[in-house]
């Protein structure tokens, strides 16, 4: 059984010059951490099957490493620099927060498309209150979390209460929230945030921004929740067979509603982090955060626990996407290729998920 304190927190006091080592150490310790998982998952299977099983569990990690090496060679002196590595970690942090939040809903075999917009609305609300109304930081943060939670509550009412299809309901919610965001910001980018807000995200610990740690901590918490709490277990069981879950005495409606609300709160938190790292809020940025987190989650479902949306796989997926998109950008592809890459990444991710996910979460909803 794994230790309850996640390894990511052990990366604390590292010097900035050693950031690359930090990343590879993190990868190593994650692998070590996972090995302690019930890696005999297929139990008494013969050795060769076990090896295949290891490949399917850790294949994505291997892809991540190979991609990293390729870009290091292709972009000498550009890719493997502490500056670039830090930039990638920063860029991935919000994606990881959103992707982590959306795994909760996906484990139910529901879908949530409103996360990018919910995050953006939270960020915009924080910016409006802090920069224009000069409210104290703690109130702004509470409002940001409240906005996300509120979106989650509305989603829960629509999907659990009224029984609407989650894809369509959250698609509608996404557009509504975006509209509200334009409304409260006057369709302007809001800048000039007080340092009390930005400090919470950009303060460096061991040369790494707090925002990065938030993502790691969320992933660690989700891992524990998914593996070691009833709520986490019920999510997958409900996703696998909601009728059976109900007859087994599980409060299906309550669990589903809670899942939407908790994930909404996480999107709200992501908004607070986003406004802190950018020191600005842009009501039109939500759309950019729609595809990469979904791609990360689906890629993640091909690794660690293949066939299931899982926390650590999502982390690996998010880093893989950020590495490739950063690498392509550094190679000097035109900026429109970013959109093309995001779309390709999502399609490739659900394709891999389909191929690898023989079991549980073969993603029938996509």
């Amino acid at each position: 059984m794994q230790p309850n304190d996640p390894p990511v927190e052990q990366e604390g006091g590292v010097q900035q010059s050693e950031v690359n080592a930090t990343l590879s150490n993190a990868a190593k310790s994650i692998v070590g951490f996972l090995r302690k998982q019930p890696s005999n998952s297929q139990g008494s299977k013969p050795g060769e099957k076990k090896e295949l099983h290891l490949v399917s569990r850790f294949g994505l990690l291997l892809v991540l490493a190979v991609t990293y090496v390729i870009f290091t060679i292709a972009l000498p002196g550009e890719f493997l620099t502490s500056g670039n590595t830090l930039a990638m970690l920063d860029a991935a942090s919000v994606t990881i927060l959103l992707a982590g939040g959306v795994t909760i809903v996906l484990r139910l075999r529901d879908l949530d498309l409103s996360f990018g917009a919910a995050m953006d609305l939270s960020a915009t609300a924080v910016a409006v209150l802090a920069a224009q109304h000069h409210l104290p930081a703690w109130i702004c943060v509470l409002v940001g979390l409240g906005v996300g939670t509120g979106v989650g509550i509305v989603n829960a009412i629509l999907i659990v209460g009224l029984g609407l299809n989650s894809f369509m309901a959250t698609l509608g919610m996404m557009t509504i929230i975006e509209g509200v965001g334009y409304g409260i910001s006057g369709s302007q980018v809001i800048t000039g945030l007080p340092s009390s807000i930005t400090r919470m995200s950009v303060t460096e610990v061991g040369g790494i921004q707090l925002a990065v740690y938030y993502g790691w901590i969320l992933i660690a918490i989700l891992w524990v929740v998914y593996e070691h709490t009833r709520f986490g277990r019920y999510l997958l069981f409900i996703g696998g067979n909601a009728r059976a879950a109900r007859l087994a005495g599980i409060q299906v409606r309550r669990t589903r509603a809670l899942a939407f609300i908790v994930s909404g709160a996480i999107y709200g938190f992501a908004g607070v982090v986003l406004v802190g790292t950018l020191s600005a809020a842009d009501p039109s940025i939500g759309g950019q955060y729609l595809l990469p987190p979904l791609a990360a989650v689906f890629l993640g479902s091909t690794a660690i626990q293949p066939g299931r949306f899982n926390a650590i796989g999502t982390l690996v997926g998010a880093y893989l996407i950020i590495i490739i998109s950063t690498g392509l950008e550094l190679i000097g592809l035109a900026s429109w290729t970013g959109d093309v890459f995001d779309g390709l990444a999502l399609i490739a991710a659900i394709g891999f998920a389909r191929l690898s996910g023989r079991g549980a979460a073969t993603v029938s909803l996509v």
Partner: protein, 539 residues
């Protein structure tokens, strides 16, 4: 057969060509030496009988007698062994087929294949033969008119534009029948042969009456009907002739009037028997004083429970007892456990556990010590994509917690314990549940419920689709729960399993509690006999 005028203009020509063949001396359907098997012992052994035009021919048999196999042969799903002959209107079928209507047999299956939220007319249109506007556009106006004419012509009082969802079960069966009649016409078979596979199993009493009356009307138009049922009374009510199958052989084929109920039962279960014996010293009618005297020690009691199919059922199960509820397969047996756990709302009556009236729902019933194991493990019980240990522990996770978190070690220990105790194979707790055999899946499902050591265990068809050795294991586990002080109620039509486990069996018929078999052990035949006799008596 004056029905052609109810059909579309196009069909009328084809209809009249078919009419030439009508000749009452030629049987509509003749089944001759049909043999069939699936590798093991043959399921059908030289089955032969004839169905006359304009008659209703009943096909009776106990579970496993070969009725469904025969229907599937007629439907073209199974192919009988060489030498088997099926003749329609004097013409032998020589080719394999997949669309039975094409060669002239209409099959109304037990599960009616409707799209519930489409209208009757859309469901009746069979695709290949829509009423056309020009070459390719469907004319719904003509389509509706043709369908409405047909529905009116067959004495049904309904608007074909209504949603199938809004129809009663008997109306659905009627529409399904009209659909196959229409398909037969469209394939150019003006003389109809229709097989109705247990059309009444989902019907209430009044709906059954309505459907049977209507069937007589269809037969009066020259249609040959083969009516499959295991309800004696319905067959006696509606059929002219009957063929009785037992273990894949025809034991009787001839006019229904030539055999009395006793003889029919004898042909069905193959032993001379005294129907009255079932209501003799061993059994008696429910009586209220008996129930009340047992109340104090009873684990589960139902008082005058009523649902949609279930009508005023009272019964009790004492702690430490295994009690059966049986009858002929039907919706009443399916509804009973769901009324008890509160998945369906009872119209009247009450459920008592340990002498107290309880209002249950699926999520609260485990809290009062009730565990329900559904007869449909994959739909109602298991997460097929989950691992065996996850399915075993999902309802008891709160007991496997250490320091506020689920302890993986405790969980796996618990799962391994259950796997060992209930002999689940393979014994790997990490196996995907869907890769287990049916018997082992069933044991996994049962083990989860039994691990609660329930005060009341409600089992529905616990050995359906389960191999022989698992059957024995499951019977033993069932009795173990009783010996631990649980009250076990088994709802099943598996008379062999009931005979092996129960000390008292309530027989339901059309939703009502009929006789009760007291003081087991019983033989399988005792139960079969009681069920058949009960269904024959029921009004």
């Amino acid at each position: 057969m004056a029905v052609g005028d109810h059909l579309g203009v196009k069909d009328e020509d084809e209809f009249s060509t078919g009419q030439k063949q009508t000749d009452s001396s030629v049987p509509a359907l003749e089944i001759c030496n049909v043999r069939m098997g699936f590798g093991g012992p043959p399921v059908l052994k030289d089955v032969s009988f004839k169905v006359a035009p304009g008659s209703i021919h009943g096909l009776l048999g106990a579970n496993g007698a070969g009725k469904s196999t025969l229907v599937k042969i007629l439907a073209g799903i199974y192919h009988p062994f060489p030498g088997s002959e099926i003749t329609l209107w004097g013409q032998k079928i020589t080719r394999k087929y997949t669309v039975p209507e094409k060669i002239g047999i209409g099959i109304v299956h037990q599960e009616l294949p409707f799209v519930a939220d489409l209208s009757v007319v859309e469901n009746m249109a069979s695709g290949a033969h829509f009423e056309r506007l020009g070459h390719s556009l469907i004319s719904w106006k003509k389509e509706v008119r043709a369908a409405q004419e047909m529905v009116d012509g067959f004495g049904l009082n309904l608007d074909v534009r209504r949603c199938v969802e809004s129809l009663s079960q008997s109306e659905r069966a009627q529409i399904a029948t009209l659909r196959v009649l229409r398909a037969l016409d469209e394939w150019g078979h003006g003389n109809w042969i229709v097989v109705l596979d247990e059309p009444t199993s989902a019907l209430t009493v009044t709906e059954t009456e309505r459907l049977l009356d209507w069937m007589r009307g269809i037969a009066a138009r020259g249609c040959a009907l083969l009516f499959i049922s295991h309800k004696l009374r319905e067959v006696r009510d509606v059929c002219d002739e009957v063929t009785i199958l037992r273990d894949g052989r025809v034991t009787y084929s001839g006019p229904i009037t030539a055999v009395d109920t006793k003889q029919v039962v004898e042909h069905m279960i193959g032993r001379a028997l005294n129907v009255a014996a079932a209501s003799g010293p061993n059994s008696k009618e429910n009586d209220a004083s008996q129930i009340h005297s047992a109340k104090d020690e009873s684990g589960l009691e139902l008082r005058n429970l009523c649902g949609f199919y279930i009508n005023d059922v009272s019964l009790f199960v004492r702690a430490g007892e295994v009690v059966g509820v049986s009858g002929l397969a039907g919706m009443d047996l399916e509804e009973l456990p769901r009324l008890i756990i509160g998945e369906k709302t009872a119209v009247a009556g009450s459920v008592l556990i340990g002498g107290k009236i309880v209002k249950l729902s699926p999520s609260t019933s485990p809290k009062v010590g009730l565990q329900f194991v559904s007869g449909n493990r994959l739909a109602d019980g298991l997460w097929p994509g989950g691992r065996v240990f996850e399915n075993l522990t999902i309802s008891r996770l709160e007991r496997l917690v250490r320091h506020g978190l689920i302890s993986r070690r405790k969980e796996l220990d618990s799962a391994r314990g259950l796997i060992g105790k209930y002999a689940i194979r393979p014994s790997d707790p990490h196996r995907m549940t869907q890769t287990l055999s049916g018997g082992n899946q069933q044991k996994t499902y049962l083990a989860r419920s039994m691990a609660h050591e329930p005060k009341v265990l409600l089992l529905e068809e616990p050995v359906q689709g389960v191999d022989i050795s698992s059957r024995q294991d499951i019977a033993a586990y069932t009795q173990e729960i009783a010996s631990l002080g649980g009250a076990v109620l088994v709802v099943s039509v598996d008379y062999e399993f009931l005979a092996a486990t129960c000390t008292r069996i309530y027989i339901l018929s059309r939703g009502r509690a009929g006789r009760t078999l007291e003081q087991g052990p019983f033989s399988e035949d005792d139960i079969t006999r009681a069920c058949l006799a009960e269904s024959d008596n029921a009004a």
